[in-house]
Each structure stands twice: as structure tokens, then as C-alpha cells.
């Protein structure tokens, strides 16, 4: 790396070292400590907090969280890709309009949006009334406070995190390749599968990482739309600070959470790099 790019990078590295690394080092330190009856930290070394994570109770909750996040990511990807693709077929003005159109609703407070879903989905809500009026159902459906409602809320919340990166990578795609392939008589699906999809891998990967990681950290949706009947790992973390007053255990859970998330991102990135390299070779 040359001197100039070091100069460009330095402010960011300094910023994050100061406001992220130093606090996290403190968190790691606390994760090896214990607590007293009042919830104050006792400065004696212990590995108990890490051992506690491996109890079936917490492992099970962690597994549930991962599973929900995988589902959310897959649904977001399947729904967002066609939308992002559609956006790139529009004129430049319309593209920008859609781009902003897709983010503006998310400037409305998250809680307000989520409570709007409650008004829509509850037993005497908008959807049930509509369905009963047209005679599709005779009894209202219990849609709220189910896993389905949680998934819907999650997908809804994270769609822009998927659409934006995919759009960004689709938009720069070399359209001449597509024209060439259709000139050569390739079907629409074949060109999509062999040309478009590989070129937008980085966007899909970025979107998936963002959605996956932020879903694992998001429990308010599960609390509101799921009726707080199930727990996610981030509920447990939060409870240690705002409830059980066990900061060391909460810190240990967070350290495990951060490391496992970074590993997942690393794997994603590796997959991205190897596939990117192979697609470049294929082109050459």
C-alpha cells in the first residue's frame, strides 16, 4: 500500500480504533469477570460466562436465531433481486426515483411501521375484515403472534438492505455482454444465469451479509409481532444488561456473537472472492 492510500485510510482506522476497538477490548475484559449480588462487576477472572453459553438453553436459542435469519435472508434475496433488476431496466431518472422511493418508508420510525402491521394483521384488523367481506373466510385468522408474522416483519424491515447493494452491482453491469449473448442466440434465461447472475454476486453477497447479521441482532420485531413468545439471542444479551444485571455474562455472549458473525462474514467473503476469480478466469 502506498503512502497516499494510507493517508486516506488513516482517519477511518483511527476513528474505529478509538470508538470501537477500545470499548470492545473493555467488553472482552469484562466478559471474564463475575458479578456480585447487586449486579456490580467483581474483578476476579473466570471462564464461567463462556461455559454457560454452551448450555442447551442458550445454544438452542442461538440456533433458532440463526435459522430465522437464514429464512429472512433467503426471502429478502428472492423478493429483492427481481425488483433491483427491474430498476436497472428503467431510465436514469426513474431509477433514482425508485431508489429513493424504496428507502423513504424506512425513514418512518421502525416502531410505528411495525405497529401498523399489527393494525393490518390483528383478528379485527384490515386484512381479516377484507377477507371476511369478500367471503374467503368466515372466522378471522390468527395471523399475529405467530412465527409467520415475525418472518413477515423481518423481511419487511430488511428489504432495502438487500435491494440497494444488488441494485448497485446490477447497475454497473456491462450490458454489452448481454447484447452479445442474445446476438449469439442465447435464451433470456441462459444469459441471465451465465452472465447477469455471476456479475452481481458481490451485490447479493453484500446484501445477504447485511440482512443476515442485522436480523440476528433484531429482536424487537419478534417481541412485537411474535408476542414475545420466543426469544432470540439478542433478547438474551439485552436481558443481561437490562434485567438480570449480569454484565459479565452479557459481555461474554456478545463476544461470542461478534466472533461468530465475523466468521460467517469471512466465509461469505471467501465464497465471493473465489467465485469472482473463477468468473474472471472464465471471461479471459
Amino acid at each position: 500500500m502506498n503512502k497516499r492510500s494510507f493517508g486516506v485510510l488513516a482517519p477511518v482506522v483511527l476513528w474505529l480504533s478509538f470508538f470501537m476497538v477500545i470499548p470492545m477490548l473493555a467488553v472482552i475484559f469484562v466478559s471474564f469477570m463475575q458479578r456480585d449480588n447487586l449486579g456490580n462487576i467483581v474483578w476476579t477472572f473466570s471462564l464461567d460466562n463462556y461455559a454457560r453459553f454452551f448450555e442447551p438453553l442458550y445454544l438452542g436459542i442461538y440456533w433458532d436465531t440463526i435459522w430465522l435469519s437464514v429464512l429472512t435472508t433467503v426471502f429478502c434475496l428472492l423478493l429483492s433481486y427481481p425488483l433491483a433488476y427491474y430498476m436497472t431496466t428503467l431510465g436514469p431518472k426513474a431509477q433514482k426515483f425508485w431508489l429513493i422511493g424504496i428507502t423513504v418508508p424506512f425513514w418512518i420510525n421502525f416502531l410505528i411501521r411495525t405497529y401498523a402491521w399489527i393494525i393490518l394483521l390483528r383478528t379485527q384488523g384490515v386484512v381479516n375484515s377484507l377477507l371476511m367481506d369478500i367471503g374467503l373466510i368466515s372466522e378471522p385468522l390468527q395471523m399475529l403472534y405467530t412465527q409467520g408474522a415475525v418472518l413477515l416483519g423481518m423481511v419487511y424491515t430488511f428489504i432495502p438492505y438487500m435491494v440497494l447493494p444488488i441494485y448497485v452491482s446490477l447497475e454497473q453491469m456491462d450490458k454489452r455482454l448481454l447484447e452479445a449473448s442474445s446476438d449469439l442466440g442465447a435464451s433470456r434465461w441462459r444469459s441471465f444465469w451465465h452472465i447477469t447472475l455471476p456479475q452481481t454476486k458481490s451485490g447479493m453477497m453484500t446484501g445477504s451479509v447485511l440482512v443476515f447479521v442485522t436480523t440476528t441482532g433484531m429482536f424487537v420485531v419478534a417481541d412485537i409481532l411474535g408476542g414475545a413468545k420466543s426469544q432470540m439471542i439478542s433478547n438474551i444479551i439485552q436481558n443481561q444488561f437490562l434485567g438480570a444485571r449480569d454484565w459479565p455474562f452479557g459481555s461474554a455472549l456478545s463476544v461470542i456473537f461478534v466472533i461468530s458473525s465475523l466468521v460467517i462474514i469471512g466465509l461469505f467473503n471467501r465464497a465471493l472472492r473465489s467465485s469472482y476469480d473463477s468468473s474472471k478466469e472464465a471471461k479471459a
Binding site: 493517508g7 438453553l57 379485527q124 399475529l144 408476542g227 414475545a228
Partner: protein
């Protein structure tokens, strides 16, 4: 050179931020109030500001534990906070509260005797009550035809899938303990375990756990029966007259929100002045009339409207208040409560 340009841009940005953040006026004395949202009538606060030529900064927290974590981690710029009963006890134990000077708060004499000298703060050394309520059962008479008298009624098969519970381990486990005739703050592990085993039978009937918007769920008839605070019940009843409220015969949990001053507050005298102002009968009546919570101020009774004084959910009877119990700090056992609660909700 170009690098310099970038740094200049960033520096300018940062400076602009500092300037923006630092431009608050400091000419007036300010009271930094830290409380629940919409917990005061803003006109009464305005009156206090005008009479004393001060400014009140009203910052907001959403639950007790957030308040504690923030104060503990060094958020020390508040002059007056409003913790609930058990949180007052925890904060006293952790030496986070300053002692009140009751000489500066002569209107303290207006507080009802029942709420003076509470268990969680003997002698009102650190706190004065602001408002209180009791956790009881709310039920919708459209769907619930039997008379409700006991916590055991929540377990009835008839209300399967329509039961609402507070999203709070101490409240719910405490409720099951009261049902079994124990103290809601017991530290006896066998009693706690037995109560949680009992709750395991109730959880499959539960529609949702909720604290903040449980009243909307009652109002909209999503839930038929559930645990509810008396003040919230008054709120629901106003919108949906079918909803009734009862303090079960086994007794319920009483709670209060209080005034307290954190240690190291810069403006302790002004905070005490504010408490005294709010305890003035006329101001008190105007304030509680507007926010709709119960008023512990006996002298204010004559200033309240008839409608307010007649509301049975805001003004609970001595009989109902007589069978209530405060939630006390359970020390180390909070871990057990938390763990059993996690197990209960995750079905493990």
C-alpha cells in the same frame, strides 16, 4: 496537497458539528428531568418555568432497567429522575441516590399516609411517590361470562389462546406466587420453581406477552383476559366499556413511580423546588387530571373533577389496596428469576 484538502473538509465538518452541539443557551438555570414519556402535563411544567425563570429539559427513558444502566454507566447529568419502587431500592443499595432534604419540600405533608415511609425507602430518605397502581386482572365481559375473582381464573381452558401476560419476569412469576399464597418477592427456590411449573401450564394459553401495548390488545379485543395495571385498565375502560378490572382475592402487586435525585446532581435545590411545586394541591390536580394517573396527594382531592374522583380504577379502595404487596429486590435470586423466565418463554 490533495490529502490536505480532504483533511480540511473533514476538519471543517467536525468543527461544524461541535459548533452545532455547543450552541445551547446557558443563560438560564436548567432542571434536567429524566422521566417516562408524557408523564407530566406540559402546561404545569411551563408554569414552573415561568414562576421560577428556569428551563426544564425533559429527557425520556422507557423502562427502569434502562434508567439504571444509564446512570450506572456514567449518565450523570440529570437532576431529577423517576424510578419505580423496586428500582429506588436497588439504586439506594448501589449508592446512586442523593438524600432528599424534606425541609425544602413542605408540601410533602400532602402525600397520603399510605404512601409515606414505604418499605422500599424507609423514612422517605431518597424518594417521594409520584403515582401508583396495582396489577390485577382485566377481562372483557363480552367473552368472559363468569365472575373473575382469583388468579386461578387465568388458567381456565375457556380462554385458551386469548390470555395476555405482562412481559416481565417479576410480575408474572410474582403473580403465580401470589396465586399459591406466597410472597411475590420470595427468595425461596422451591416456591419459585413451583410457581414456574404452574406457569408452564398457562403459557400454552397465552396469546402474547406485552407490557407497553398490552392495553391496546385488551381494547381491541385481541385478548379476552389478562394481567393489567389499574391505571392502564382505567385507560382501556374509557375506550372499551366492556372491559372490567379486579384485584384478585389472593392480592396483587402494587407499584409506584417516584421522584428521586441522583447523586452528584448539579441542581438539587431546584429539583426539590420542583417536587414541592408539583405537590401543591392545585398544580397536582391539574397535572394528574391531564395525565390520568392516580394522585397520591390528599389535599388535591377537592381540586379534582368529580369524574376523576369517581373513577374506581384510578382511586382504588382501601380494601383493594390492603391486599397488595410491593415487589422487593430479590438480590442474587434475580438470576434464577431471569433464567426460569427464559426457559419458560423458549419452551425449554
Amino acid at each position: 496537497m490533495k490529502k490536505l484538502k480532504w483533511y480540511a473538509v473533514i476538519l471543517a465538518g467536525l468543527l461544524a458539528v461541535t459548533a452545532l452541539a455547543g450552541c445551547s443557551s446557558k443563560s438560564q438555570e436548567t432542571l434536567n428531568l429524566y422521566s417516562w414519556a408524557d408523564n407530566f402535563d406540559m402546561d404545569v411544567i411551563k408554569k414552573f418555568e415561568d414562576e421560577n425563570n428556569v428551563k426544564v429539559n425533559y429527557a425520556i427513558f422507557a423502562n427502569n432497567e434502562e434508567l439504571l444502566a444509564k446512570i450506572k454507566a456514567g449518565g450523570s447529568e440529570y437532576d431529577l429522575i423517576q424510578p419505580s419502587d423496586y428500582m429506588v431500592a436497588s439504586m439506594i443499595k448501589q449508592d446512586l441516590l442523593a438524600e432528599l432534604d424534606l425541609k425544602n419540600i413542605p408540601n410533602f405533608k400532602n402525600v397520603a399516609d399510605r404512601f409515606k415511609n414505604p418499605e422500599f425507602d424507609p423514612g422517605n430518605k431518597h424518594s417521594i411517590i409520584y403515582t401508583s397502581g396495582v396489577t390485577g386482572i382485566a377481562y372483557n365481559t363480552k367473552y368472559v361470562k363468569e365472575p373473575i375473582t382469583s388468579w386461578a381464573d387465568l388458567w381456565s381452558e375457556k380462554y385458551k389462546g386469548k390470555v395476555l401476560l405482562l412481559e416481565d419476569n417479576r410480575e408474572v412469576i410474582g403473580m403465580a406466587l401470589k396465586k399459591a399464597g406466597k410472597s411475590n418477592s420470595t427468595t425461596n427456590e422451591a416456591d419459585i420453581n413451583a410457581a414456574v411449573d404452574d406457569l408452564r401450564k398457562l403459557v400454552p394459553h397465552v396469546l402474547a406477552f406485552d407490557t407497553d401495548s398490552i392495553k391496546q390488545k385488551m381494547m381491541q379485543e385481541e385478548g379476552w383476559i389478562g394481567t393489567l395495571w389499574s391505571g392502564d385498565a382505567a385507560y382501556v375502560k374509557a375506550e372499551n366499556p366492556d372491559v372490567e378490572y379486579v384485584v384478585p382475592k389472593e392480592g396483587g402487586t402494587i407499584w409506584s413511580d417516584n421522584y428521586a435525585i441522583p447523586k452528584g446532581a448539579k441542581n438539587k435545590a431546584l429539583a426539590e423546588k420542583f417536587i414541592n411545586f408539583m405537590l401543591d394541591p392545585e398544580n397536582s390536580a391539574k397535572n394528574y387530571e391531564s395525565i390520568g394517573y392516580s394522585d397520591p396527594n390528599t389535599a388535591a382531592k377537592s381540586f379534582h373533577s368529580k369524574e376523576y374522583n369517581d373513577n374506581k380504577m384510578i382511586n382504588l379502595s382501601e380494601d383493594e389496596l390492603g391486599r397488595t404487596e410491593w415487589l422487593l429486590d430479590v438480590g442474587d435470586k434475580i438470576q434464577l428469576y431471569d433464567r426460569l423466565w427464559t426457559e419458560l418463554k423458549s419452551g425449554r
